[in-house]
């Protein structure tokens, strides 16, 4: 079972109602969407790559855009899953006394997830600007739920005197920039370069810690 298959398994197995053909369609679509973009990918190309008839795609997904949404929506959900668990505060108290520990665990966890789902992440960030439907979902989930949580977390550590006093939104923006900057550089811009991942992550965290400490 390939990495691609595992990725699909992980993201879509939940619903568990994906036909074998459907999985092939999804895999082919992810491939092409990530490489050439949604608009420049033809359904006939997806069908050929998936080894199914073009009509089969439309039996499972009413439109080409439906196929995109069916791919991106669960990706978005999984990406933000850690932020919507109920007892996040308890977790913070018990497991992460220090902000540094938290951010470290958090970065490692999300990087691992994204590394395993890079083509999906790529589609996500490439298509959100163009698809109002995705943008809506994104705003609703990220802007409202996730941001809410992140603010709480920042304020939690600010209250403990571990983060500089500064609007939480600014803190979030800076942390996010740093983290996504690393991921994008590492996996999208220069995936071929040699990376000492542990050290790079370590340094990235250091930047944040130095920059955000009171």
């Amino acid at each position: 079972m390939s990495q691609q298959d595992k990725m699909i398994e992980e993201l879509f197995h939940n619903a568990d109602e994906l036909t074998e053909k459907q999985k092939k369609i999804v895999a082919a679509a992810i491939d092409s969407f990530a490489e050439k973009g949604f608009a420049a990918t033809s359904t006939s190309e997806i069908a050929k790559k998936a080894g199914v008839a073009e009509g089969t795609i439309f039996r499972h997904y009413k439109t080409k855009k439906d196929l995109l949404v069916a791919i991106v929506a669960p990706t978005m959900a999984k990406l933000i899953a850690p932020f919507v668990i109920k007892d996040l505060n308890k977790v913070l108290h018990q497991d992460f006394e220090r902000f540094e520990d938290f951010i470290k665990a958090f970065i490692e966890n999300r990087i691992k997830f994204l590394k395993n789902n890079m083509p999906l992440f790529r589609i996500l960030i490439q298509e959100i600007p163009f698809q109002p439907e995705l943008r809506e979902q994104f705003k609703e989930h990220i802007a409202q739920k996730v941001f809410e949580r992140l603010r709480q977390i920042v304020e939690h550590y600010q209250a403990k005197g571990q983060i500089i006093e500064m609007p939480s939104d600014t803190v979030i923006r800076m942390a996010a920039s740093t983290i996504f900057g690393y991921i994008i550089a590492r996996y999208l811009l220069a995936p071929e370069a040699e990376w000492d991942d542990d050290t790079e992550i370590e340094r990235t965290i250091q930047l944040l810690m130095n920059g955000l400490s009171p």
Copy 2:
């Protein structure tokens, strides 16, 4: 003369051989490419928006992709212009004794440029992943020339003991993440939000200074 016109004037006037019609075509194309993406924009739409016949576009630009390149290439050139001036080192010595001063001046200068050319910047980052031709230009110019220069600058300030000892690439990546993170958040993700720009930039620089100081 509108902001849009000035932007075009600034970027394309150099060549100076742009017909009135050509300018309208470029303006319309920038508009549509930024909004819907290159692949999802039709030449007929551009023609209509520009108020010219469809054939006129192809008289000036052999293909639709040529039009894109004609738009993106000078943008890229202008964006990196400050890095390719000859006597950069002299400038550094004379004007920016401290790294903080340099980064401050630099950020402000480039942000101003991008703010005035946001649709172009948008097209740039949205289409580079899909257009091999653009990617090639990007790699050649950025990866080779700009990166070269940035390394020199970082090492210049490291030698002066103002930047932590760390591979210069890492320093560049972190600085770039932070700066672009701000620009993208400010102008693309949440342009409608209220931003206290000066303070935000100030804080962003502080993050970098704290994080990168020895």
Copy 3:
């Protein structure tokens, strides 16, 4: 049991081998064919309306056109049934001494039949122009058998001096025009209008009687 069901019962029960599902298919097909025409009706639509799987249709009718023929053929047969009874002449002598009585009884009988089968009649006249197969059947049955009989009837009453001397085909055409004209106006063109049916039929017969009397 609805009117629709009765209609189907009457027309198809003879063969008597219609499954429950088959009846539903036929009912759904009649509905859609009458409303949107044969060519514009999809088998999937029929299947959905009938509450069966698409495959089921093709188990009973080899092609979509077969389904149409299976619907239209018996309709045509029933429509012309009165003309193919063997002892028509005997009937004429015994029951209808006067042409007026005959035409009255005849009109009322056929109008009643068509009223009960209006969607079928609609399909009949709408699809015959387009389906060579139906046209063939129509010609064979109507043009040859029915016309033959009608000529005999006309000549029968001409011999009795009750119909003007005139080619029988012309008489038939004029009578048919008048009768079908009424039916089409009454049930297809203006079914919503208020109609005093008895009076209208009475007047229509008067027109014919006045027009065809010697």
Copy 4:
């Protein structure tokens, strides 16, 4: 110049803005629509028959249905043109003292028109039941304007004691049935048969005169 061409010339020349290609498209469409029906005719077939590229059709007619409407609408207009002239009453008084003269002139005029435009008439009556847009136009023009006029005419001759006292709608229905019955039989059902047109029309008028005289 063929009969087909003349027909098109007559119906569409007014607007006068039909390209040579457009005329070919219209001619081909009339041909196919009349023969196989609108829904069963493909645009590729029309293009091939017209000797143009498929795209050319859509440059002139936004959709396939637009093409149909562009064909049927002027036909309908021409068909009812005689009813919308302003001084119809004056015409009646001056030229047609007797109802018989009027109906004779009228029938001959409209039959001549329809004979020259039979494929168009065919499309008209075959597609009106399926195309709400056409039905709407038909209702608006025929039901409202034409019917209004016909009622006036009937009442005009009733007042002169030349038509039996009877609701004018009934008179119209019967006259229309008879006339269209002739046309349909003559040109659509049995165009191959030998017809003595003058005699048939004479007899048809006699039927009406006898039937409608007081």
